[in-house]
Amino acid sequence: MDHIPLSAYLILSAILFGLGVAGFIFRKSVITVFMSIELMLNAVNLSFVTFSYENKNIDGHIYSFFVMVVAAAEAAVGLAIILTIFKNRGTLQIDEVDSMKL
């Protein structure tokens, strides 16, 4: 078998996405949760690129490019936020940061 079915790529991306979600749900460090988000983005990128291969159309690449840019911006802001949280609260535990409630 020298050909990979397209669905393999998609399933891989689904699994990676699931792993990202798992990281988001089960991890307790803000930074790791943030990295899980990046993982999800990557998974989505993979399916973008896969579909653009399927359709022989380059738009998927453009989308994943945009996703990367957004991810970079998000990382910059998010990490700054994390820094501020750490400065103000002295913790990185995501469960400690729960004052946004009634």
Partner: protein, 167 residues
């Protein structure tokens, strides 16, 4: 040939992803995330998206993840402690996740196995830098400009946040 490459990359990706979730130390998670990204870059190459592959390495591997590592080192973040909060997530998280991934994969399998073509390396190399650039500056010019503005705003926001005094 490329089935081997795919299997290697996929296994590496999934392994690193699992590692990301399972490791208790942020640095290990970060490195495994880099691993995921590198193997994804390889997969992009297999899918004929060489520019995206390189951009993946440069942007994610080079910029984003370096930022992560930098912050982790700066805050000297240690291994995370157990917490008894957010009961709901700990109870329902895993079942929901299983229900999320398994049927999704099944759906994909049944949907896309039938009529879509197989992937073979080099059969379509559309993602050259030239092609991507052409698209980017003709069809997607407005989104491109908008996203550049977004980046600018993000930089400003990061600077402001990072400069904020503690009080």
């Amino acid at each position: 040939m490329d089935s081997i490459l795919f299997i290697i990359a996929a296994v590496a990706a999934i392994g690193c992803g699992l590692n990301l979730v399972l490791q208790s130390h942020p640095i290990s998670s970060a490195l495994s995330l880099i691993g995921v990204m590198s193997s994804l870059a390889l997969l992009y190459l297999l899918l004929g998206a060489e520019f995206i592959a390189m951009a993946q390495m440069i942007v994610y591997g080079g910029a984003v993840m370096v930022l992560f590592i930098f912050v982790i080192m700066l805050l000297n973040a240690g291994a995370e402690k157990r917490s008894d909060k957010s009961l709901f997530a700990r109870i329902f998280g895993f079942p929901l996740l299983a229900v999320f991934v398994v049927p999704l994969s099944f759906l994909i399998k049944t949907t896309f196995s039938a009529q879509v073509s197989d992937v073979s390396f080099g059969s379509w190399v559309g993602g050259t830098a030239e092609a991507v650039g052409k698209q980017l500056f003709t069809k997607f010019l407005l989104p491109f400009e908008v996203i550049s503005v977004l980046i600018l705003i993000a930089i400003l926001g990061a600077v402001v946040l990072a400069q904020k005094e503690i009080d």
